[in-house]
């Protein structure tokens, strides 16, 4: 299967098979002013199957969100049709504005302007304010 190469844009590679569509949605790439190709179930020697997202526009992507949803994904920045930068994501130590604290006793439940910040602890992500554990990403 061939997808045209992109000149200036972003390729999110090594996405766990099945998470491509979700990432497109969470990264708000399902809008009508950007060309996006979602390639599902691509054969991978390392992963067996993987998804790939190609974004034909030089737009910023939320690396924290990608790292939270799929820490094994890689982000390739393409400039003038060449690979300018390759980033392996991993699990970010701090997640800002990616997930919301569900604890009704947390200060974030009443202060709407407060950013929801989660810190990576030994047992997963916990709210910076109330230490409530975030639901595990599926």
């Amino acid at each position: 299967m061939n997808i045209d190469s992109i000149k200036d844009g972003v390729v999110i590679d090594h996405i766990t098979a099945g998470k491509g569509m979700k990432l497109v949605s969470l990264l708000e790439l399902d809008r009508d002013d950007v060309s996006v190709a979602i390639i599902k179930n691509v054969h991978s020697r390392k992963m067996g199957k993987k998804d790939i997202i190609k974004i034909d526009a030089d737009i910023p992507v939320n690396l924290d969100l990608i790292g939270y949803v799929d820490p094994g994904a890689t982000v390739n920045i393409i400039k003038n049709s060449v690979l300018a930068e390759k980033k392996t994501i991993g699990r970010p130590k701090v997640l800002t504005g990616v997930i919301r604290c569900k604890n009704p006793r947390c200060i974030t439940s009443v202060e709407q302007e407060l950013k929801h910040v989660f810190l990576l602890r030994s047992d997963g992500y916990r709210c910076m304010y109330c230490e409530t554990k975030a639901a595990e990403e599926q």
Partner: protein, 307 residues
């Protein structure tokens, strides 16, 4: 700008320093009577409190300082919907240090992140209450003369009881600490406290529902109130509130040198008859809280270069 949100923001060396300072205040109160002269403390209390607010205020007055109080969210701009951040940015213009209580967990961190003066967390919901723990630690130091090799029984609401979580985490840093966790099944110590505070330090703990059985092995019994305000369901509260009541009769099973602590206020969990027992230390804790707040206010103002 250093603030104290959690008792673990203080190292064990700093705890020693604060308890030593508090003991010196007890021995030489006149030497501290003007240490904070012309300095102002704001006590911002967004939820009801008797002893903590008055303790902070008494502490500042005994250091020669002044106090500005906001007691109750209804009398503040919070009732108009003002954010914690905006309230703090405003109050910082008036005072040198802030003690704040708020019903929501994490409110103290929001305050500290927006403050230009030190903030002391005077309780943020069920989360942290570091100065209560400092009061507890001074009481332990004065009564047991040490922090290490103590067996502490926590009894009652170990799930929502922030004082239990804080003191357990603070004591976990000392060698030989053993905990006996006495609670109904529904109010057990949360697993994250065990995982984050007890297990990494290798603290030995046992869990039981039987207070009387646990008593003979304890150096310290830390009783807690089942807090109505932490329950969303009144039925659960009513079912659990009188599960443990310490009586003079039960105290006969406790060692002669065991001490009884309680963060107060008490409802039914300690019979008034126990108050006359020399092992009852909960009203001493109240006084010790004032001395530790004096020591902490001085420490933070010194670090901020204000005294």
């Amino acid at each position: 700008m250093r603030s104290i949100i959690d008792v673990l923001d203080l190292s064990t060396e700093e705890i020693e320093e604060l308890t030593a300072c508090a003991q010196d205040i007890i021995a030489n109160p006149d030497a501290y009577a003007d240490v904070c002269a012309r300095k102002k403390l704001a006590t911002l209390f967004f939820e009801p409190s008797t002893r903590t607010r008055m303790s902070f205020e008494a502490a500042m007055y005994e250091l020669g300082g002044h106090v500005i109080t906001m007691a109750g969210a209804a009398s503040s701009s919070a009732a108009k919907g003002e954010s914690v951040a905006d309230t703090i940015k405003t109050v910082c213009n008036y005072v040198d240090i802030i003690a704040m209580r708020h019903p929501k967990e994490g409110a103290a961190l929001v305050a500290a992140n927006n403050a230009t003066v030190p903030v002391i967390n005077a309780g943020d919901g069920g989360h942290c209450h570091p100065t209560q723990t400092l009061a507890d630690l001074l009481t332990i130091k004065l009564e047991k003369k040490r922090f290490d090799n103590l067996t502490i029984g926590f009894c009652g609401d170990l799930k929502f009881g922030r004082t239990v979580h804080s003191l357990a985490a603070a004591m976990a840093r000392y060698p030989g600490t053993k905990l006996v966790l006495i609670s109904p099944e529904e109010l057990k110590l949360p697993s994250y406290v065990k995982r984050n505070a007890l297990n990494p330090a290798g603290v030995k703990y046992t869990q039981t529902t039987d207070l009387e059985e646990a008593l003979p092995e304890l150096d310290i019994l830390y009783m807690t109130r089942v807090q109505r305000e932490r329950f969303f369901n009144e039925e659960d509260y009513l079912r659990l509130k009188d599960r443990y009541i310490l009586t003079a009769e039960k105290m006969k099973k406790a060692p002669e040198d065991m001490i009884v602590m309680h963060p107060l206020p008490r409802v039914n969990e300690i019979s008034v008859a126990v108050d006359d027992d020399p092992r009852a230390c909960y009203f001493k804790q109240v006084l010790n809280g004032k001395y530790m707040r004096m020591a902490l206010i001085m420490k933070l103002l010194k670090e901020a270069g204000k005294i």
